[in-house]
């Protein structure tokens, strides 16, 4: 390799990866500009905060889904798992009357355990991720209904529970910036997940598994253990999403949850993470989740009927993936 050709050869995937992120990002900016011009109500602080708050649950779920999708897997259970974790928090806090921190830990642990189960079924029993997590999706949906007695569990007896997502400790310090805690949690989760992906062994194996699982195995790495770890981590993040949604609704709604996995996967895909594994970013996913919320919010402000929002989201998913295919063809 000569010096003259080296930089060109070396940088192509990075450049195009950045290109894709740029594409999603410019898409987001374009949407913001269009909606701001179309309606003066869009760019209001109140509305921006509402968009961010609306993104928090789907954003956290989408980050969880990103981890699994980078390994080349898929997790269809993130939505009902989120609900299950919320219900577990409800049982611990409302039924048993235990203190708030116990409820928070229990919800996240419920996610971890569920992830250990899915991961084990996938890694050890060799059940394809699609099937394993489809099963888990239904199992968790059923368990949520069973545990809760099919009724919503309210958190009225746990003062401070609604503060998890709806309060604003930043607002308490800087009244000019009433950013809800839910949004802060979303960005915190994103930062931590991005750090884990880029700087820890878990993250390295997440990409390696999606890139060439057999090669990882031949390198002497305990593939099963790391795969289970990725599912467990992802599912723990779903536990955080469960707390967020329960806090926003001040209740655990056992019938809710199914369908959230599709929004999460949509955000991941729009954000440029490859469903075939090996590549993806948390930042992309975050942008993907924001695009979905901005669309929903903007179209609502423009009084476009809600039915049309899903049509637009669907179209954007297809366009985003097509852009990725075009990019790869040109490589």
């Amino acid at each position: 390799m000569t010096d003259a050709t080296a930089p060109a050869v070396r940088s192509s995937p990075r450049v195009s990866g950045a290109f894709h992120r740029l594409l999603a990002f410019s898409g987001l900016i374009a949407l913001v500009i269009v909606f701001s011009l179309a309606s003066p109500n869009f760019m209001q602080t109140q509305n921006i905060l509402a968009i961010l708050q609306a993104t928090s649950v789907n954003g956290v779920l989408a980050i969880a889904a990103t981890l699994v999708i980078i390994t080349g897997g898929i997790d269809l259970s993130v939505g009902t798992l989120m609900t299950f974790c919320a219900v577990v928090a409800g049982v611990v806090l409302t039924f048993w009357g235990l203190p708030l921190p116990v409820g928070i830990v229990a919800a996240i642990l419920a996610g971890t355990v569920s992830g250990l189960v899915s991961g084990t079924v996938i890694a050890k029993l060799k059940v394809p991720p699609f099937i394993a997590t489809l099963g888990m999706m239904l199992i968790l949906k059923g368990l949520s209904l069973v545990i809760s007695g099919t009724k919503p569990i309210y958190f009225n007896d746990t003062p401070g529970f609604t503060q998890i997502a709806q309060g604003s400790f930043i607002g308490a310090i800087l009244p000019a910036l009433p950013i809800p805690n839910g949004v802060v949690i979303l960005f915190a989760v994103a930062l931590i997940a991005a750090f884990v992906l880029s700087r820890t062994a878990l993250g390295r194996y997440t990409f390696a598994l999606g890139s060439n699982e057999e090669a990882v195995r031949l390198s002497g790495v305990n593939v099963d253990r790391w795969k289970i770890a990725v599912y467990a981590t992802s599912s723990s993040i779903c536990g955080i999403a469960g707390l967020l949604i329960a806090s926003r609704l001040n209740s655990a709604q056992p019938a809710l949850g199914q369908g959230y996995e599709l929004d999460a996967i949509a955000a991941v895909v729009i954000g440029g993470t490859s469903l075939s594994g090996g590549r993806g970013t948390v930042l992309g996913t975050l942008i993907g989740a924001l695009i979905i919320s901005v669309l929903a919010n903007g179209l609502r402000i423009l009084s476009v009927p809600q039915e049309w929002q899903t049509v637009v989201t669907g179209t954007i998913i297809i366009l985003a993936v097509y852009a990725d295919i075009l990019r790869r063809r040109s490589l």
Partner: protein, 513 residues
């Protein structure tokens, strides 16, 4: 056969004896053995399927042996996993590159052993260590480059760097030069010589005679999963090594090549090119002729077939059918020109296994059975299918049997019937008897002869030399994307192997004896 020399009191790095290994339905190794001395390049040779790769996968912990002993440095050892092999200083560079394409070179090299500080990956140390290995190899490569963007040759170098990073004392290279050009091979050999001087033992698996002669000290030959012998590389003539490799005696059938010299040319291919896979391939097949395509794995035979059939894009080259130039860019074009391709993997590409026999046969010809209003004429389809079931003696209870329930040989016949019904008179068979039991093979051979006698032009790609010899009226031999020569039917395995290992058409293999 020459036995290994027991010369110096050197303790071998590796001593494998009596190794057995079976996979369901296949005995891959039987009483195989292998010895590797420090500072030695030991070539391991044999035809496709001789068991070389299996033996080395046992040594590197990928497979477990069924029986036999492995001595490392003279001590009995178990190698339970790739990890254990690495810990014992055994590195392997796999034939199919085992790299993670989305990771950087440095990340690939140290996968599973990343330097960490307080649990956090230390990328700087990672890149520094990788750079140190590249420097020791005299290799100019940026450790932070993503592997996907490297040439195959550079990826190979990353693999070697990875194996070296384990401080391997045993380095197994499975076909390391398959994708390298001459300059890159020279680079690789320089690295091998340096390692050799440091006392590393190198197992070198290759089909290429000239390389073996150039780089190796000893040659061990395997055939059908068994040990044939070990000979010194320099003093042993290539002919001797080849005859050790092909050793099998041929079935003594009289072979009559029908005279097709006056028959019209059915298919002519001129100057076909596609990257390194197909290099300037030209040949023709006459009506009634069976042209065999021989060569080692990766020689480019399947690639030629796929390019003719329009399954892969070709860079240049003309295809003439019955004296007329045809433009083929998709399989649909090829079929329209009367070319049928029977792929290596019937289940994947040739057969809709969930459909019944009748629908499989009619699939490419559905237009013919479509009546007014787009309704399929089931009765006509049934009659056509039944005709072929009789003609080709397809063993099936009825034409409505699902294709997946038939035996391999009968599935193959269904695919043949499908192309015959579509009026294909040029048929390309890629490994027509793979996965078919011996009895059914004979039947397929008969069928191919019958088809040829009816005037079909037939190309048979096969990795089994006895099969090529038995079937072909003429044999085209390929090596590294080039046609290295044509041989008459009934030639010898030795002749074919000579052409199949001849790297450049101009460069004759040196006779060392």
């Amino acid at each position: 056969m020459v036995e290994p020399r027991e010369s110096a009191p050197v303790v071998p790095l590796v001593e494998m004896t009596g190794i057995d290994k079976s996979f369901p339905g296949v005995r891959a190794l039987s009483q195989a053995r292998f010895q590797l001395l420090p500072g030695e390049v030991h070539a391991l040779m044999g035809e496709n399927g001789a068991g070389k790769s299996t033996l080395m996968k046992i040594l590197s912990g990928v497979y477990q042996r069924d029986a036999g002993t492995i001595l490392l440095d003279g001590r009995p050892s178990e190698i339970a996993s790739p990890r254990e092999a690495q810990d014992r200083g055994i590195g392997i560079i796999h034939q199919e590159l085992a790299l993670m394409r989305d990771l950087t070179a440095a990340q690939n090299i140290f996968i599973g052993r990343e330097p960490r500080r307080f649990g956090i990956l230390d990328e700087r140390a990672l890149n520094r260590d990788a750079q140190a290995i590249f420097d020791s190899m005299n290799l100019r490569l940026d450790p932070t480059v993503v592997v996907e963007s490297l040439t195959i040759a550079k990826q190979q170098m990353v693999e070697i760097a990875k194996a070296l990073s384990y401080r391997s004392r045993v380095l197994i290279m499975d076909e390391p030069t398959a994708a390298l050009n001459d300059a890159e091979i020279a680079e690789l050999f320089a690295i091998i010589n340096r390692l050799k001087a440091e006392g590393v033992g190198i197992v070198y698996i290759s089909h290429k005679m000239d390389e073996i002669k150039r780089i190796s000290d000893r040659v061990t030959v395997m055939r059908d999963g068994e040990y044939v012998g070990t000979v010194p590389a320099a003093e042993t003539p290539i002919e001797t090594i080849i005859s050790m490799m092909v050793g099998r005696t041929l079935g003594s059938e009289t072979f009559v090549v029908p005279n097709t010299a006056d028959a019209p040319v059915a298919l002519e291919v001129r100057n076909l090119n596609r990257g390194r896979e197909i290099r300037d391939v030209s040949f023709s097949v006459r009506q009634g002729e069976i042209l065999g395509f021989a060569g080692l794995m990766g020689a480019g035979r399947t690639e030629v077939a796929r390019a003719i059939f329009g399954a892969d894009r070709r860079e240049s080259g003309e295809i003439w059918v019955h004296g007329k130039r045809v433009g083929i860019s998709t399989p649909r074009d090829a079929v329209a020109s009367g070319i049928g391709y029977l792929s290596e993997d019937r289940k994947l590409f040739g057969l809709a296994t969930g459909l019944d026999v009748r629908n499989n046969i009619a699939l490419p010809s559905l237009e013919r059975f479509t009546g007014p209003g787009g309704i399929l004429n089931d009765a006509a389809m049934r009659d056509a299918a039944r005709g072929y079931i009789r003609q080709l003696s397809i063993k099936t209870p009825s034409e409505t049997q699902e294709a997946r329930l038939l035996s391999g040989g009968n599935q193959q016949k269904v695919v043949i019937a499908k192309w015959l019904l579509r009026d294909c008179d040029i048929l390309i068979f890629d490994e027509p008897t793979r996965g078919i039991d011996v009895g059914a093979k004979t039947e397929i051979y008969k069928l191919l002869n019958t088809l040829a006698a009816q005037g079909k032009a037939i190309i048979v790609i096969s990795s089994e030399l006895p099969e090529v010899l038995r079937l072909s009226h003429r044999i085209a031999v390929m090596c590294e994307g080039r046609l290295t020569g044509f041989l008459p039917g009934g030639t010898s395995q030795e002749e074919i192997m000579r052409l199949a290992t001849q790297r450049e058409p101009s460069m004759q293999v040196r006779h060392a004896g």
